[in-house]
Amino acid sequence: MANAQPMTIVDRSASRVPMALKSNPQLEVAKLIDESKCIGCKACQVACMQWNDQRDEIGSNVGVYDNPSDLTPASWTVMRFNEVEDREGSINWLIRKDGCMHCEDPGCLKACPAPGAIVKYDNGVVDFVKDNCIGCGYCVAGCPFDIPRISKVDNKAYKCSLCSDRLAVGEDPACAKACPTMAIKFGPKSDMITLGNKRVGDLQERGYQKAGLYNPQGVGGTHVMYVLRHSDKPDAYNGLPTDPKISQTVSVWKGATKTFLSWTMGAAVLAGVAHYLVKGPKVVDEKEEA
């Protein structure tokens, strides 16, 4: 369990603040989800909605066990059930607890135009600040994992907060606390990597040669990691991206482009002023030309 600690903001959307921007390795936390231990009971979903006081609308059965069938503004985590046929022709059930990955380099934060609507803490948690959110949906476009959802009720973006309010007082996330098989572990990131790698070793000994730890470096690593039995094909787990990165489109749009184009617009105005001062206006001599 993490100790109670003040969480300092290290990155903030649409803000020019001289902050560290990186999580503090000493304070970094992570949730480790061991897919091989998951029984799909959805206790984590229940704990999540209970702690965060969210009640989703009752949906309808879409032919699979996923309930609700997708993440929603009120369902911040969803079990994804995937039936996969192995080489011997028997069916494997790959169950993945989907939700925010808490990227070290969060695409949502990069895309967000509202100052302070998305923050990253020194322990690596990426959190949405409702009061600053304007509901534009840029975070949805920025996220490489398709996680944020915009509420139709209040037009605010919602996703897993990694129970930042619990972490601040030294409690584990609600889902980790509720998991009956301890498939969800929480603690310092370095410990979780050690634990994950140990678990990967066990699985490999048991014949899952492709078992591995999912901590994608394309987004600088994540603060939610998976132990996967088939880490060679993360796509089999309901389209978990193999090499997630912030989209090029988003990087170009939110990178140097916006600054360069802003200066270009300013320069255009100044060029007009300069031209007027140097060349002067075009005045028609009414008497001469009439």
Binding site: A14, S15, R16, P113, A114, P115, N132, I134, G135, C136, G137, Y138, V140, A141, C143, D146, I150, N155, S247, T249, V250, V252, W253, T257, K258, T259, L261, S262, T264, M265, A268, V269, G272, H275, Y276, K279, G280, P281, K282, V283, V284, D285, E286, E288, E289, A290
Partner: protein, 206 residues
């Protein structure tokens, strides 16, 4: 009308123009606020971030419709011809106010026509991409990759439009007598003869 004045824009055309202009200013302010954090204070123009997010696309539709009415009306007068190519090749004379060397312009000179086409294309791109990124109603109909591309197209074409409008407004301030055309609808005969001789002759005859 005094007999040294010529009508250039009807009352309807001026309404049309100024509705487009006012909506453009509101859109540019709220849009720039979303574009770069340094412009965030401009979100106050429409009453804050959330209201800007809500109103921007609605005002966008008004601007698009208003602009298109004007643009379709002015379509045939903005087709590029040989004289325009000559005019554009002498852009140095334009900038240096050596108007007497320029080929005779019709109702619109080549610079105005160029602005017309850039505005028309960027307006269409803005409307199209704007619908895709209109999260409240339409974004769910498109894949995230398409929405990303739309946001990018929207950002680039809005900057192109803003730059064109900067040139457009500057030209109106630079060429004395132009502002009057869009405010009161009339220009002096001398102005028309000097800046748009071919157009002047055609209205002078009739």
């Amino acid at each position: 009308m005094a007999n040294n004045l010529i009508r250039r824009y009807s009352d309807g055309e001026r309404w049309n123009h100024w509705i487009t202009a006012i909506t453009f200013i509101l859109l540019a302010c709220s849009g720039l606020a979303f574009f770069h954090p340094s412009f965030w204070f401009l979100s106050g123009v429409l009453g804050g971030g959330e209201l800007s997010r809500f109103l921007h696309p609605i005002i966008g539709v008004v601007m698009f419709v208003s602009f298109m009415i004007f643009a379709l009306k002015k379509f045939s007068e903005n087709l590029i011809n040989q004289t325009d190519k000559q005019w554009l090749s002498q852009i140095g004379d334009v900038i240096n106010n050596r108007d007497e060397r320029l080929p005779e312009a019709g109702k619109y000179n080549a610079g105005q026509k160029a602005a017309y086409w850039v505005m028309l294309i960027s307006m269409i791109l803005l409307m199209g991409s704007g619908i895709v990124m209109w999260h409240e109603f339409f974004s769910h109909l498109f894949s995230i990759a398409v929405v990303r591309a739309a946001i990018f197209v929207h950002a680039i074409s809005s900057v192109v439009l803003i730059l064109t409008i900067i040139v457009h407004v500057y030209a109106a301030l630079w060429v004395k007598g132009s502002m009057q055309a869009m405010l009161s609808g009339v220009v002096s005969r001398a102005w028309a003869k000097h800046h748009h001789p071919a157009w002047f002759r055609s209205v002078d005859k009739s």
